[in-house]
Symmetry: C2
Subunit: 204 residues, 2 copies
């Protein structure tokens, strides 16, 4: 039988990788469609709001990576036991996403000198603000970001922290052993380990 889910994104981890991790963790088959950069202009016009990833299921298509990840996290039981716990997870995910919002500018900047200045600002003001605070959360939460156990917030942090390294050209978590521990624990899950072995090799 063909997979019931089709996930469409570019041929990079980026904003689709949390969803790919969640599919892998739950053992849910999915069609991993990867758009070639040269085909993007044509594909873009067909997307609901011109963005990917999109998820197709039962003939319906939705976009927005974090909305899709939240849906998949419920399926694979990486969510809270009640709605307050889900609120705590969602708040953590949105805080991690605030970091992402602040580093987008680096990718968009074409001028080398300006890009370098932006990277320095990200390291100081963004990583320097958020990471010590998240590190303290992991310390309070038994080695996880929230609720003292594995949730999809840990998956999102794990996949996004790769992007931190790409942006800065450094091992950003080197001075944050607890946050590094989150990434190591997630990537050591047998299902995720396997996914990282079989996934298409890309630049990061």
């Amino acid at each position: 039988m063909a997979p019931q889910y089709k996930l469409t994104y570019f041929d990079v981890p980026g904003m689709a990788e949390t969803c790919r991790y969640l599919f892998s963790y739950g053992g849910i088959e999915f069609e991993d469609v990867r758009i070639k950069q040269e085909n993007w202009p044509q594909v873009k016009d067909k997307m609901p709001f011109g963005t990917v990833p999109t998820l197709e299921h039962n003939g319906k298509v939705v976009d927005q990576s974090l909305a899709i990840a939240r849906y998949l996290a419920k399926k694979v039981k990486l969510v809270g036991d009640n709605e307050w716990e889900n609120l705590e997870i969602d708040a953590t995910v949105d805080t991690i996403n605030d970091i992402r919002q602040k580093i987008i500018a680096v990718f968009l900047e074409k001028d080398d000198a300006k890009k370098k200045a932006l990277i320095e600002a990200v390291k100081k003001d963004t990583f320097g603000f958020y990471l010590p605070r998240l590190e303290a959360e992991v310390q309070k939460n038994k080695g996880y970001l929230v609720l003292g156990r594995l949730t999809w917030a840990d998956f999102y942090f794990t996949t996004l922290s790769r992007v931190f390294d790409v942006v800065s050209g450094e091992d950003v978590l080197a001075s944050y052993p607890n946050l590094k521990g989150v990434r190591e624990k997630v990537n050591a899950l047998p299902s995720i380990k396997k996914w990282n072995e079989i996934r298409p090799k890309t630049s990061h």
Copy 2:
């Protein structure tokens, strides 16, 4: 009995207003704490990640406006009937939030000429891209943004679209009768009408 919920934000609608609407809609009492701008530096240090709104309940504090709104929306039953429907709502909310992300720069820009240029770009590239697409969604969805009925996505759009008018100095929804209809329907709900009569008067 004192209210069980304390919502803390600045003395403006902004990113707290969807939550205030949801409390009002559900008839849930809440303490509506409004920080004075001059006290913000001291208060900021006490917030989990230096941001508001925050919600306090049973001695716990969480931040992130959309996470809080999603939690309240479940309480007052403005969510989906199943998890796919919740995904559709969440995706719509995140699309509306993409508009907000793109207009933040206008508020941050201090230089008048640059601010004017940014406003023109927002009108053309942001409103001009998203609003016709959202207008078409409302047309397909019986006068609502998603699922063909009232959800918290309509509440978020209603409160945020005020900010569109503030940013642009125009009645941004004038050429989008369906979107304008969403706002009018939400604001005509007896509980919301009452809230808008009794809420503290602010600049917008």
